[in-house]
Symmetry: C2
Subunit: 369 residues, 2 copies
DNA sequence: TACAAATTTGGGAGCGCTCTCAATATCAAA
DNA sequence: TTTGATATTGAGAGCGCTCCCAAATTTGTA
């Protein structure tokens, strides 16, 4: 009897358990410790890769863990360690409605990818209705649930931002918020990107350049318009208010804005998003104009649709996936190293020149001269 | 001194705390209980809406909770109650790569919406890389983290399904899995939907109907093809293998498949997804054909792109958002009422008739006769 | 060989909640 | 008033882990 001893039996039980129920063996650290013949503390050290364990003991414990398929209990660990290894991505309502727009899915993908890499779990909060907005607060503020929050800016959502920021909770805002004092945020350099895009049009010789802006109650919309204005005034040109039409980042919005611009006979349009650019191109074509011969277009985002042969849209490429990844990195930095001082990350963009701006034709013209 | 008593002071502290730090006041139930002059147990009852509390006490406690901005600690609650109020949505790799496809964002939206409604938190697992797939298992099996899992079917992912199903953990599969024994899943009635779509084409008088299928290693692909075959054979027609081309649910895949079909001069095509249909239409147009005059198309999904005037695609509408919501409902049912017996939910679809099938023209023809 | 120092281990007190069970308070009917 | 039933409350034992501190062991050095 004694030959078998207690240990082998425990091993056997572990193996059986791991076959019988590979997902959720209800083993505790205590069980593992007992089977490995050590204390709970030591078992915990092995699980958490604490260096203060002798090699022989570490191996013995790891063996038991492997054989049993043990996984630490997330809630217990969170409770004791004050860390949940989970971060929240909050996409406000104005945003989630156009979840059909590929921007947010891709952002989400970037964020999810980064979370995987860092072994964090991603909690997704899509605020669909007004009630969700109220409900969200208790949800994300369930203490012990989240280690940090990644919040997409949006107009009207500043109440949330205010509340979040006034706490000492790690929060990163995706997109420059209106009030940036003390807040960590990450954004692309919208102003310079727009400026570059419009300068490109100017260099190609266009004289009556219009713009279709995004919402003017969002920083994205404002910054991109500012870039347009900067490029125009740099030339010593008069800003023509009529050539600036505010829209809403949707395709239909772009279509309607273009209808408004057409009578003014612009020779080029800078649209603050690809979706709006596509809508605007449709409107131009409906009016019998040919792109880029009669009118040139530059968009913003470089969505997959931009490169379709129908449009061949010259546009500003945003590194969306990397943006999401960087946002997560920043958030984890806040979590691990404290929220002070606040971090600001500005990412560069790239002008992708295709056909809609008429660059190829223009070049041919200038070469012919 | 005694006039003030202990209670008002606690109230004051609570109010100050709630102003000073609205997000994460580190109050425990014990604190609330003390301030309200009751026991922790009673305070817990109030928080959890237990009916066995007298009205006066309930109000007193609720007042304190409101004043302090108290929120229960998620991890502590999970640990004690064995419920995390969190469910996981797992989207396998084959799926997350085409996260550009609007289907999955919309599904996610439906799921998120339903989670909000049920006060569950949604954990999103996007498996991007091979490593993610390995890493995912420990993540989702962190005990105490998730109450249930919603898993999107995909070819190759059946290892995960097997593991998950062999446990007694609440799991709902989105999309019929290959081995459905004992598993709860939810799906749309792909076979009948495809059958209807093809029957519609037959009724319109088309004789040489081709199909562009999805992957043949997925049940969606197989079921939709079956629907096509059923409709054809029902007519007593010979199935022409050459008119069936396997593709991959992408636009480019649809384009290439159509290139293959064009020489066979089909008069109508049933594509197993809108994206493939769009690609196929492009190919047909590139070949100088006009839709629906020279060739008719029916798609599947009813993505927003289907209703654009460029295509006006006749297609099978899937209730994606409701699908996601129903999936969550089912999962919660499993969580609350046990996983046995396994549930099977099949949702109906709707054929949306637009122009690409030529229904309007055909009708005019028949009316003229 | 002895002793200090370093390394490795175990014990125990929480983390903040739930939940059972027993104690107390309340109320109606006898 | 008493009694039994019912409604309301409180005490206490966990849930499974981390982390501090002290105990035990090993190592190095005089």
């Amino acid at each position: 009897m004694d030959i078998l001893g207690a240990l082998p039996i425990f091993y056997l039980i572990g193996i059986i358990q791991s076959i019988w129920n590979p997902l959720v063996p209800n083993l505790t650290l205590e069980d593992i410790a007992k089977q490995a013949g050590v204390s709970r503390s030591t078992a915990s050290r092995v699980v958490n890769n604490d260096p203060n364990v002798s090699n022989s003991v570490r191996m013995k414990v790891q063996e038991v863990i492997l054989a049993t398929g043990y996984h630490p209990h997330a809630a217990a660990r969170s409770l004791a360690s004050h860390r949940s290894w989970m971060i929240g991505l909050v996409l406000p309502r104005t945003v989630s409605t156009f979840f059909t727009d590929p921007y947010f899915p891709r952002l989400t993908q970037g964020v999810a990818q980064a979370c995987n890499q860092h072994n964090y779990t991603l909690a997704l909060f899509l605020l669909d209705t007004k009630e969700d907005e109220k409900r969200i607060f208790p949800l994300i503020s369930r203490r012990g649930q989240l280690d940090g929050i990644l919040l997409q800016t949006a107009p009207l959502e500043d109440i949330l931002i205010d509340k979040l920021v006034s706490s000492d909770f790690p929060v990163v805002i995706a997109g420059r918020p209106f009030k940036a004092n003390g807040i960590s945020y990450i954004d692309v350099d919208n102003l310079n990107a727009a400026h570059n895009a419009v300068c490109h049009l100017i260099q190609l010789g266009y004289k009556r350049i219009g713009t279709i802006t995004g919402w003017m109650n969002s920083t994205v919309g404002i910054d991109r318009k500012e870039g347009y204005l900067k490029a125009i005034t740099e030339q010593g040109w008069q800003v023509q208010e009529k050539l600036i039409v505010e829209s809403d980042f949707t395709e239909n919005g772009g279509y309607l804005a273009m209808k408004q611009l057409l009578p003014l006979k612009p020779d080029a349009i800078f649209a603050a998003s690809d979706t709006m650019a596509i809508g605007a191109i449709r409107a131009a074509r409906d009016a019998g104009l040919s792109v880029p011969v009669d009118i040139a277009f530059v968009g913003f985002d470089d969505l997959p649709v931009a490169s379709l042969s129908d449009f061949n849209l010259t546009t500003v490429r945003q590194p969306i996936i990397q943006f999401g990844a960087k946002a997560v990195d920043t958030l984890i930095d806040l979590i691990e190293n404290g929220i002070k001082p606040s971090r600001r990350i500005i990412m560069e963009t790239e002008l992708v020149i295709r056909d809609s701006c008429g660059a190829s034709q223009k070049k041919m013209v200038s070469e012919r001269l």
